[in-house]
């Protein structure tokens, strides 16, 4: 029994000191990405690491969480947000490297319904006003603090149906959670980005797509954090994201060029 204690301490010390394999790579970038952009940014990052022989690691979360983490001092080199308000917050804290902030690409909101519903009665949903129908009981939308939630509510407000629909709205932590709710049929409709739809194409259908006239323009922004020790690689990565060849890749996935 007596020998157990020191061994336990040794093991504990050993564990705490194990560095993560990829952390050891010098000059690697850590990029905070909004969940709705994970796959495309991963593809862009893979290409970038290939061409520049520097590793890029992604940490995905809702834009608001990314901002919170950045404000708390998380060691991101680059942060990508799904709107400019969130980026404004990071900028207000004086965290952004001068001249590194850039708009990358745009998106559109889609009102989606479960496919099972399409076969029954959802043929009735072709416009936002159809959401007022008593058949539609629950509408999933991302939380207010998440860009998708902000845009969605702004869209409803513009059509003057936010108030009457308020009791039907179900808040989800972010846009992919909305997608999961709609594809499982737990709700009757939901607001996601057009680019989110393909990953659940067999389960959801688009009932309505927003255009610039009825919603605030939706765009993603990228910026390097001034405390990054790899600022030049960070701005090279942002340049890569906005390069013509990469923008083409984004467009193929349904994003919209600004």
């Amino acid at each position: 029994m007596r020998v157990v204690f020191p061994q336990v301490y040794k093991l504990f010390l050993l564990l705490a000191l194990i560095p993560s394999a990829s952390q050891a790579l010098a000059g690697g970038l850590l990029v905070g990405v909004p969940v709705s952009m994970t796959e495309v940014i991963q593809a862009a990052a893979d290409k970038f690491s290939e061409e520049n022989s520097s590793s890029v690691r992604l940490s995905a979360a809702a834009s608001s969480t990314l901002a919170q983490q950045a404000l708390a001092g998380a060691p991101f080199d680059v942060v990508i947000t799904a709107d400019d308000l969130t980026m404004d917050k990071i900028a207000a804290a004086g965290l952004i490297a001068a001249g590194s902030r850039r708009r990358i690409i745009g998106n559109r909101l889609a009102l989606i319904v479960p496919r099972a519903v399409v076969n029954n009665h959802a043929a009735t949903i072709t416009s936002l006003r159809d959401l007022l129908s008593p058949r539609i009981r629950r509408i999933a939308i991302a939380e207010k603090t998440v860009p998708a939630g902000h845009y969605g509510r702004a869209l409803l407000a513009k059509h003057e149906i936010l108030e009457p629909l308020r009791t039907k709205l179900v808040s989800a932590t972010h846009v992919r959670a909305v997608l999961a709710l709609v594809s499982s049929g737990a709700v009757d409709a939901g607001f996601v980005y057009v680019t989110d739809v393909p990953i659940a194409r067999s389960k959801v259908a688009i009932a309505y797509t927003s255009d610039d006239s009825d919603s605030e323009p939706i765009h993603y922004e990228a910026a390097a954090l001034s405390r990054s020790p790899n600022l030049s690689t960070a701005s090279a990565f942002i340049n890569h994201l906005t390069s013509p060849s990469n923008l083409k890749l984004f467009e193929l996935r349904g994003f919209r060029r600004l």
Partner: protein
């Protein structure tokens, strides 16, 4: 290495470190709280058990502040390892520690309470120092209960999600644990990975629960 294996390794690493620290810190504390009375004990116990009832996300928010390079934990870690604590696997371990701490503390307190004080005083009258008595009598008698508690804490640490995503993010192969991996793959429509991760979690949870149950069952039999 596959995504599943990477998440399993991260999860086990996180849960193991968390459980070790919890056992080291909470065992003496649990003994002290069971055997000593002092004013404000009720309050101290209440505060220590708080993570059991607080939403993990709220704990994550508090930890985010503590782990920031300006926060006390973040500053300490930066001084020791020269690396930021946020978005590291150690940050995930701290989150898991805080969440699983009260689970182990409760189990350890019950376990110490079940040790007959009669045996301890007998040992002391036979000339054992209080410290030796603790090692030779109290700890061995409580060991099974403590082990059961540690397994329970480890199982909880394995599943921690809310506080973990907040402070550790979700970097595949580094901070993406099983629970965080399941969430991310569901969100990305990757059901195959989600179900593979969920199956592994299920197996680990079953092992931990059975082991924990059989340990506490044994100690119940021995107590009779």
């Amino acid at each position: 290495m596959s995504v599943v294996m990477l998440s399993v390794i991260v999860s086990l690493k996180v849960a193991l470190l968390a459980t070790l620290v919890v056992v080291i810190l909470a065992t003496p504390l649990a003994w002290y709280l069971t055997r000593r009375n002092f004013t404000g004990k009720f309050l101290v116990e209440g505060i220590l058990l708080l993570p059991l009832t607080l939403p993990p996300v709220a704990i994550g928010l508090m930890l985010l502040m503590l782990m920031s390079p300006r926060g006390i934990l973040g500053r300490f870690w930066l001084a020791v390892s020269d690396k930021p604590l946020l978005l590291s696997w150690q940050a995930a371990a701290v989150a898991a520690m805080v969440i699983s701490f009260p689970l182990y503390l409760k189990a350890a307190m019950e376990s110490f309470a079940s040790v007959p004080q009669r045996l301890e005083s007998m040992a002391e009258t036979m000339g054992l120092s209080p410290w030796r008595c603790w090692w030779k009598v109290t700890l061995p008698l409580a060991a099974r209960g403590l082990g059961a508690g540690a397994l329970l804490a480890a199982a909880r640490a394995l599943g921690e999600f809310g506080a973990t995503t907040m402070v550790a993010g979700s970097i595949p192969g580094e901070t993406e644990t099983l629970a965080v991996g399941i969430y991310n793959s569901v969100m990305n429509g990757d059901e195959y990975t989600a179900w593979s991760l969920a199956t592994v979690s299920l197996i680990l949870a079953i092992i931990a629960t059975i082991a924990s149950r059989s340990l506490s069952h044994y100690s119940a039999i021995r107590a009779v």
